[in-house]
């Protein structure tokens, strides 16, 4: 069964389309990523999926229900970690979870044991009676992730879950996501960390200006759009540029660097270093960031 099935989804804010005819399918137990520059429409897409925004047009089915009609039923099965922290500052750490569980009609001893279990899971049990303002940014993030799990969701929506976390916390959350996935949870993830997407996502889309630019598994996308290796050359001198053109290599130029995408990386690398010397040349594996920058460009978004 498809957990998410979106067809021709559009969301318009005052005439400007934030999400512009996108279609996607996510199946059970998949980790599906949405990447894209700032303002691409990731959060807007995700908010339609958890029934916060009603789509302007298009068809949207989530957990087998029409997301316009059976809003309550859809939301019952979803856990959301929003991009913006919205913990309840009037309540303590554990009260935040307990009150949130109550919104799902989870009450009493069952709620309390679930909340304590989750606080242990994200390493905040010792802070359970703290007020929210006393938590660090990363702790708040971890608490939100715990909160998104109170209803044991079938679909977990994580909008930039690890932004602002230290490497320890990030890796711990990655492990949690993987173990949740193993136990049958479907995960929808947006992130700006390409290593995170590569590590976690079975499939992903890259969005730009409200549209899906490309879809595939991280490996496929890297192979297809960046080849196997990238050679970085700095500074981006004229001689090197002419050489690359003459050899018919695919490359990009920035003010300081050439990025050469090559299927046969090591061979090309030794050719280049023979001609221009080792210093300022580096060979590395192609990664998702190369794909991302190649497809969405290097300019800042307004």
């Amino acid at each position: 069964m498809d957990i998410i099935r979106a067809t021709d989804l559009v969301k318009t804010f005052r005439h400007a389309a934030a999400v512009d005819h996108i279609s996607l399918r996510v199946s059970r137990q998949e980790c599906f990523g949405i990447l894209g520059p700032n303002g691409a429409g990731k959060t807007t897409t995700v908010k339609m999926i958890y029934c916060f925004f009603e789509p302007t047009s298009g068809k949207l089915e989530v957990l087998g229900e029409d997301a316009r009609k059976n809003i309550r039923r859809v939301k019952e099965g979803i856990g959301v970690c929003p991009q913006e922290n919205n913990l309840d500052p009037d309540l303590t750490v554990i009260e935040n979870l307990r009150v949130f569980a109550r919104y799902f009609d989870i009450v009493g001893a069952r709620a309390l044991s679930r909340c304590e279990e989750l606080l242990r899971f994200v390493g905040l049990y010792g802070k359970r009676h703290s007020v929210i303002d006393e938590l660090s940014g990363g702790m708040k993030r971890r608490l939100i992730i715990a909160r998104s799990l109170v209803n044991s969701p079938r679909l977990l929506i994580l909008d930039e879950p690890t932004t602002g976390l230290d490497p320890q916390a990030r890796h711990q959350i990655w492990e949690s996501i993987i173990s949740l996935k193993k136990s049958g949870t479907t995960v929808l993830l947006t992130t700006h960390y390409m290593d995170e997407a590569t590590h976690l996502c079975d499939r992903l889309v890259i969005m730009d200006k409200g549209k899906i630019v490309v879809e595939g598994s991280p490996k496929e996308l890297i192979r297809q759009y960046a080849g196997s290796h990238v050679i970085e050359i700095s500074p981006a001198g004229e001689a090197a540029g002419n050489y690359l053109k003459q050899k018919g290599l695919t490359f990009e130029k920035t003010p300081t660097h050439f990025f050469v995408y090559a299927q046969k990386g090591p061979e090309v690398f030794s050719d280049i270093t023979l001609k221009f010397g080792e210093s300022g040349c580096a060979l590395r594996m192609a990664n998702l960031e190369d794909v991302f920058l190649k497809l969405t460009g290097r300019e800042l978004r307004e």
């Binding site: 804010f13 958890y50 916060f52 925004f53 009603e54 809003i71 309550r72 039923r73 939301k75 019952e76 979803i78 959301v80 929003p82 913006e84 922290n85 919205n86 913990l87 309840d88 500052p89 009037d90 309540l91 009260e95 009150v99 949130f100 109550r102 919104y103 799902f104 009609d105 209803n151």
Partner: protein, 258 residues
Amino acid sequence: MMNISLRSMRVWQRNFDVYLVTWKVNFIPPLLEPLLYLFAFGIGLGQLVKDVPYEGAQVSYLRFIAPGLIATAVMNHGFFETTYSSFVRMYYQKTFDAMLSTPLTIEDVVMAEMIWGATKALFAGSIMFVVTLLFGLLSMPMALWIIPVAFLSGLTFSAMGMCFTAYVKNIEMFNFPVFLFITPMFLFSGVFFPLSSLPAWAQAVAWCLPLTFLVSSLRSIALGSFGMAVIWQILVLAALGFACVLISLSAMKKRLLK
């Protein structure tokens, strides 16, 4: 109707939980407020003003203003909860956004906020009720009707507050309804003097203010002169409350979900 379920009581419970945490602080102002009023008006102004004519009889000034003070407490606490307090929860704390990622709908959340406002109005009205009762200013058992009327009209003023909350851009803008609406009502709805002492045109204006209806009905109840007029006044408040509930539900939905 519009997607409201019993689950919305979960939102009410959230507000009640927060209220209980600081209940001592929450309790003191509504308790001191009536004492201050009674002191100022009873002992201060009461020396100058002896008896006030009411329905052909003479009543003491304190007995005259006591129901008005209950009405004022109901209005203030109902209105301020769904304006300033709800706005803080909605705008600064993003509490509504968090609730909306659960099976709660926007209608659940907004309705619960208004019922919570009515509850706060009920608390404040009840404290005022008890204090004035202890001063012997209410005629029992008829005066007990003040309690349900306080809740109902509390909902009316909460719903009015929520209508403003659905439209204001920032929290400072609440100064307008307070200055143009709440303060004039406090002064000209017959809390402090009989409306009959005003010229006819001013009386007509006063009967356009919701608080006038509440003061008048509570005064009839408190002084034991219950009649058809009271029923009508309460029905007007209920109808106004119902209209404001409908307006605020749809306006808040537009505001939050665009």
